[in-house]
Symmetry: C2
Subunit: 132 residues, 2 copies
Amino acid sequence: MKKTRNTRQRGVILDILQESCSHPTAETVYREARRVLPNISLGTVYRNLNFLRDQGAVREIRPSDGGSSRFEGAHTPHAHFHCVHCNALLDIPLPGTLGNIRFEEEEGISAVSLIDLHVIGSCSGCEGGAAT
Amino acid sequence: MKKTRNTRQRGVILDILQESCSHPTAETVYREARRVLPNISLGTVYRNLNFLRDQGAVREIRPSDGGSSRFEGAHTPHAHFHCVHCNALLDIPLPGTLGNIRFEEEEGISAVSLIDLHVIGSCSGCEGGAAT
DNA sequence: GTAATTGCAAAAGATTTGCCCCATT
DNA sequence: AATGGGGCAAATCTTTTGCAATTAC
């Protein structure tokens, strides 16, 4: 395998994700990163996000409502709650019962590597309010 | 509310989705539709897919691995299995236990409108095989 | 007749990539 | 010094949109 280097850019990007709990988009990570490295480019941010994702250091979340990907430092398995009004993304526990389900016994499934659960609704900040 | 019309294009698109079980992309729906309506445009396909989705007649699935959206005729709630090797998308039952979980009791959640469960792994056709 | 809808083509976003230079090892 | 990685900009890909012409009602 090819060896990787510890560049300042990569470190900064990883730091940002590990310290954030807002699940930023690539663009947001970019803006954050520029405060530390004013010359960093968006392409570099994307390349590193993909790299870190492939290494398992970062997780990419694709909102089911069609916005851009959001990222988080990878920690223990959990699910996500997505507020349709304000677009907030919250970590929530992964229901334990999902771990007991033998999806492999379903017709057509051979092995399961990941369970991705998105709960969509309205967050406390937005209450039941229907945003136009 | 504004009134809608039953155009041939819209009907054909809905038919395609209701008869397919492969969860086609917009592009694929477009190719299918052209067999019946050779002049239909991709823009029309997108407009109608969005329209039908908003009416609840069609469901849009955004693969967590970053491909384009896929569509299905809306039927009873179910989850999806996504094969990382061949990209197949299969309907699987939504685990009943999820219905019992009171996500609203989680910190920050006020109301839940939809549960989106994606199980990712390898399908029977691909077995454990690692595709390059 | 009227307004919703289409086809076409251009536009908009998001993400990727080529290329050449620079920095890490 | 060797080469992985960065910066910049152009390219890609998917999806949306403006507009004039068309069609369902």
